[in-house]
Amino acid sequence: MKALVAKFFAQLGVWGWTVLVLIPFFFIMLFATKDTSDIYGKPLALIFKPNWGNFSGAWNAGPDEGTIGVWFINTGLLVTTALIVSLVVAVPAAYFTIFLSLKQNRAVMITVLSGTVVPTILLVIPYFKAYNQFGLLNKPIVTGVAYGVLAIPTTFLLMNRFFLDFPREVLEAGLLDGLSNSKIFRKLVLPLSVGQIVSVGILTLIWAWGDSQIAIVLLQSQSAQPISVGMLSFAADFTTNLGATFAGLSMAAIPPVILYIILSKYVTKGIALGGITK
């Protein structure tokens, strides 16, 4: 009996949490297609005349037409740069570090680990100062470099841990086949590490897509902003046109969620592997 009661409450709890998690996504999508007067008048109604004009309203919001599209392009540039920088720099280093002595590998790990705990607030003002000095403000790609470098520690640690467990037989077989060391890395190790690289890459992608603390400082002009920063001004401008605001929110929020659903296997694996270093 007692066990049944416990089971009931456990079930109730998990369903309750699931509903709470889904509420924003449900309403963002619902309101994105609702007329503003309906959002105020009958917000919970599920049967209503859809207003697809919200999406064009959102698209044409901001100072120029298609500003939101520019924000997406900026986010794309920023995230792509961050991914390239973090993976190209950290993955080979994480691999070759396993050949150092254990003591040296450990020393490298600890040094890199200390990079994960530096508070962003300590970095943004000097970044602004330096970027300003070199005339690099309002350039999404150059801002993406900063995001990429800040993602290096996590990328390095997760990949290093993965490579430490990599079966040595594979490497030795490659050597016996006469492959050079760099060929072993490129032809044998990399193809077998795709899953792990995707896991780690997604962590970087989610973070760089959503963060605004660095971008709000380095990308201040509206035409250079990524979606995470652009939306802030957009939502403030649109208190009278809620429908368009929600259409904009859905455009910003739904793509990463869909990407996650497709790749969820990798994401959960990446976190289980030690995403707590992020």
Binding site: K7, G13, W15, W17, T18, L22, I23, P24, F27, I39, P43, V89, A93, F96, T97, F99, L100, S101, L102, K103, N105, V117, V118, P119, T120, I121, L122, L123, I125, P126, Y127, N132, V149, L150, I152, R161, L164, D165, R168, L171, L175, N181, G210, D211, S212, Q213, I216, S228, L232, A235, L242, F246, L249, A252, P256, Y260, I261, T268, A272, I276
Partner: protein, 320 residues
């Protein structure tokens, strides 16, 4: 170098990443595999350390330098000694912000760990639908914080906001204007902070729960332990180190968390939700007082270093 690698001592290899061994003693690495790769390691590590130095170490030094200067955003720094710090320690807003930042970070971290642990316990007991829930519960961690924060702040509006509409339908009243009052604005922000962070903590804690050997729980069942006792006597003590780690990290992340608060309240009304990162941002980029802002950042950094060190110490001692 390679000689060392060929005879890995047991104790070193286990100390590296919690029991993962670098080389198993049976399969000794070949000299050919190592000698050249050690050089590659040094070469590939150069860009890692150069970039980390330029983007992490230099800015930190620069922040400290700024914190003892006056700088309006242009021109050279003007050294002012510890004036910025003296100002901070006498400033009422700074004291208030420090207090709410600590309150905000600790309450979010505590609630996140508590909820995530309960959810992990439920899922590991195979409640119905747990496979889908594992995926769904991480949605809040995926969606851009700006987007969800804007949604939630609109939903806390009186009468028209979704939260108030639902409360109204339940007969609990629909005119709560939490975000408009300095006394209550922090609570919706805490709620959203928790809401968006639980999924991640849940996945990590679930990973720890699933590593507990089934035999331990079976033994407890044989001894007549009920579900709650299994949880409090077996699961909880075994995952305590990871809970401590997550709690510490969550404090640091929430302490640093800029986006959720900024998107929900801009720090207002009248700076009642201006946690330190927001206060520093405003100080620098609204009022152009970069020196005081840098001093705030340095104080925050020192505080977080202390929290981090204590947290790591505690979770280490739990592990032993």
């Amino acid at each position: 170098m390679s000689v060392k690698n060929e005879s890995p001592s047991k104790e070193v290899s286990t100390s590296i990443t919690q029991g993962r061994t670098l080389f198993s003693p049976k399969k000794k690495a070949r000299i050919g595999l190592n000698a050249i790769n050690v050089r590659s390691a040094r070469i590939t590590l150069i860009p890692v350390f150069v970039l980390l130095f330029v983007f992490l170490a230099l800015p930190m030094i620069n922040s400290i330098q700024l914190s003892v200067s006056r700088w309006g955003g242009l021109g050279p720094l003007e050294p002012v000694g510890f004036d910025n710090y003296k100002f901070l320690f006498s400033d009422a807003q700074m004291r208030y912000s420090s207090r709410i930042t600590i309150f905000y970070a600790f309450s979010v971290a505590f609630l996140v760990v508590a909820i995530a642990t309960l959810l992990a316990a439920a899922v590991s007991a195979n409640v119905r639908g747990h496979k889908a829930m594992k995926i769904i519960w991480f949605f809040p961690g995926i969606a851009p914080p700006t987007a969800v924060a804007i949604f939630w702040s609109s939903s806390f509006q009186p009468e028209s906001g979704v939260v108030n509409v639902i409360l109204g339908k339940l007969g609990l009243g629909n005119a709560y204007a939490w975000l408009a009052s300095s006394d209550t604005a922090l609570y919706p922000v805490i709620f959203v902070g928790v809401w968006s962070a639980v999924g991640f903590a849940f996945l990590v804690i679930l990973g720890a729960v699933e590593q507990i050997p089934v035999s331990l729980r079976e033994a407890a069942v044989v001894d007549g332990a009920n579900v709650r006792q299994q949880f409090t006597k077996i699961t909880l003590p075994l995952i305590r180190p990871i809970l401590m780690t997550i709690f510490t990290l969550q404090i640091i992340w929430t302490f640093n968390g800029f986006t959720v608060v900024w998107a929900m309240t801009n720090g207002g009304p009248s700076d009642s939700t201006s946690i330190l990162p927001i206060l520093a941002y405003k100080e620098a980029f609204r009022y152009g007082r970069f020196g005081t802002a840098a001093a705030m950042a340095v104080v925050t950094g020192i505080f977080l270093m202390i929290v981090g060190t204590i947290g790591i110490r505690l979770s280490r001692s739990e592990q032993q």
